[in-house]
């Protein structure tokens, strides 16, 4: 089968090429990487494309174990396929190799067992460079995720418009209609007028909140900068000092002299400010407010801990809606209900985590962990 007899008529035609030479030409110049691997895992032959992909000379590769070219994270994965091919089963899989300059190359690999007279002698492989395709897939995935997130946000806005914005508007409408009535008791008229103003102010506040929230994601692209986490906490403490002392409260800070963090300064400042003002807002009327703030570095992360002795919450009851927009959990306190939502979004954009522990009538601890 291998040896066709050479044609006799012409010496300068394709037909004059011996199949063996044709095969070798095809092997060497084929745009996909083609190679054979001995049963001990060393390269037996490699074509030009293998050398180009791995950026190595043929002499460097032949005799070397194929695993050395594979990205370490894919060693086990590619070995299992190699083993299966070695046991006589053709394999098709994707893997990642590293070129000598350290670049990752995604490959779509086909492995066949190579047998001579029924005996396994090695593995034959064809690998296509799918790096570009992979990058496109990853970019597509990122876009899909971003679109999904934006759609969820749109749904959230729809709910805010339907539920939350309608509420002050309905009040404005009702109050103005009420004020048009004759013979309204004077007391009612006065209350209605001040409620009218209050509702208008609330609506205004909500418009500003929504605007702030929408601009949050554009700010996410803002460059990060080096800033001092401890200084930020002290600034927030100073700006809220008046509220704290008027509430008869005290704040302690456990922190190193300085702690440098590479972050979006505005976000970090807003997170600290919101959690601290929440502690003041939800203080217990039965005892003097005490807040302890800890700032500490743990490995490659900075951990902020805000502990208060305030009203606390039953987290089983509050559940996942704690960080939702316009959700309030205390009747007596006039919260806009946006603070914790903003905190959570900012923590997410900074690729950090936020955790909460709370006991009703004892207090609440918020722990924010951000990359340094």
């Amino acid at each position: 089968m291998h040896h066709n007899s050479p044609p006799t008529r012409s010496s300068a035609s394709i037909a004059s090429l011996r199949l063996e030479r044709l095969n070798r030409l095809l092997f060497n110049h084929y745009p996909d990487a083609i190679y054979t691997i001995n049963t001990d895992g060393t390269f037996h032959t490699v074509n030009d494309t293998v050398c180009q992909v791995l950026q190595k000379e043929r002499e460097e590769l032949v005799g070397q174990n194929y695993q050395l070219a594979v990205h370490p994270e894919y060693w086990e994965h590619s070995f299992s396929y190699f083993k299966a091919a070695h046991e006589g089963l053709p394999q098709r899989y994707q893997t990642v190799v590293r070129s000598s300059s350290g670049e990752s190359v995604f490959l779509d690999v086909t492995n066949f067992p190579l047998k001579v007279n029924g005996e396994m002698v090695g593995v034959f492989g064809i690998a296509r460079d799918i790096t570009e395709q992979k990058h496109r897939e990853q970019a597509l995935l990122r876009t899909t995720q971003e679109l999904k997130r934006q759609n969820e946000e749109l749904e959230l806005f729809r709910k805010i418009i339907a539920h939350d914005f309608r509420s002050p508007i309905a009040r404005l409408l009702g109050l103005s209609k009420l004020l048009q009535k004759d013979n309204l008791p004077e007391k009612t008229q006065e209350t209605a007028l001040s409620a009218l103003l209050q509702s208008a102010q609330q609506l205004d506040g909500m418009v500003q909140d929504l605007n702030q929230m929408l601009s949050l994601h554009h700010q996410g692209d803002e460059p990060r900068e080096q800033c001092d986490a401890v200084e930020l906490v002290q600034l927030a403490m100073n700006s809220l000092q008046a509220d704290i002392s008027s509430a008869g409260g005290s704040i302690t800070l456990d922190a190193p002299d300085t702690l440098q963090v590479f972050t979006v300064k505005a976000f970090m400042a807003s997170i600290v400010q919101n959690l601290l003002s929440n502690a003041i807002k939800y203080r217990s009327p039965d005892r003097a407010l005490q807040v302890n703030i800890q700032v500490a570095q743990q490995g490659k992360e900075v951990v902020f801990t805000f502990t208060d002795n305030g009203k606390g919450m039953d987290l089983d009851q509050v559940g996942s809606s704690l960080f939702r927009m316009y959700k309030r959990f205390h009747h007596e306190v006039d919260g806009k209900g946006l603070g914790l939502y903003l905190v959570k979004e900012q923590v997410r954009l900074l690729e950090g985590r936020i955790e909460v522990e709370s006991t009703p009538e004892q207090g609440t601890t918020f722990t924010v962990t951000l990359p340094v």
Binding site: H163, S167, L173
Partner: protein, 131 residues
Amino acid sequence: MYKKVYIVDDDEVSIFLTEAILEAESFATEFKGFLDPKKALYNLLENAKNSNTSALPEVIFLDLNMPFISGWDFLEALAPYEHALKGRCRIYILTSSVDEHERQRAAASGLVAGFLQKPLQDGCLTQLKRN
């Protein structure tokens, strides 16, 4: 004119407003506003359990979006006493929400006599009075 009307709403201004509109329309002789739905619920459950129907309000205006106990939770808690309340106590959802899902959900509930949008309209009150 009705005797007793409950208004369950976590918003003080809303209670004031509903009450003022109802008063101006001479809707009832006694209004009771509940900022905390839990208190209204205790009151209703107590009277329903003891079959003290004369103490029950004839009309309840119930807000939906409230912290801890939403209007839906409220209705769910009352569901076991539907027979005691039916015919005696009409519950109207009174919400500022324009969410169509909520209107449908209310229509599916046996306890709900109607779904009203805030602010209460005079025309709609006349209809409630006739009912």
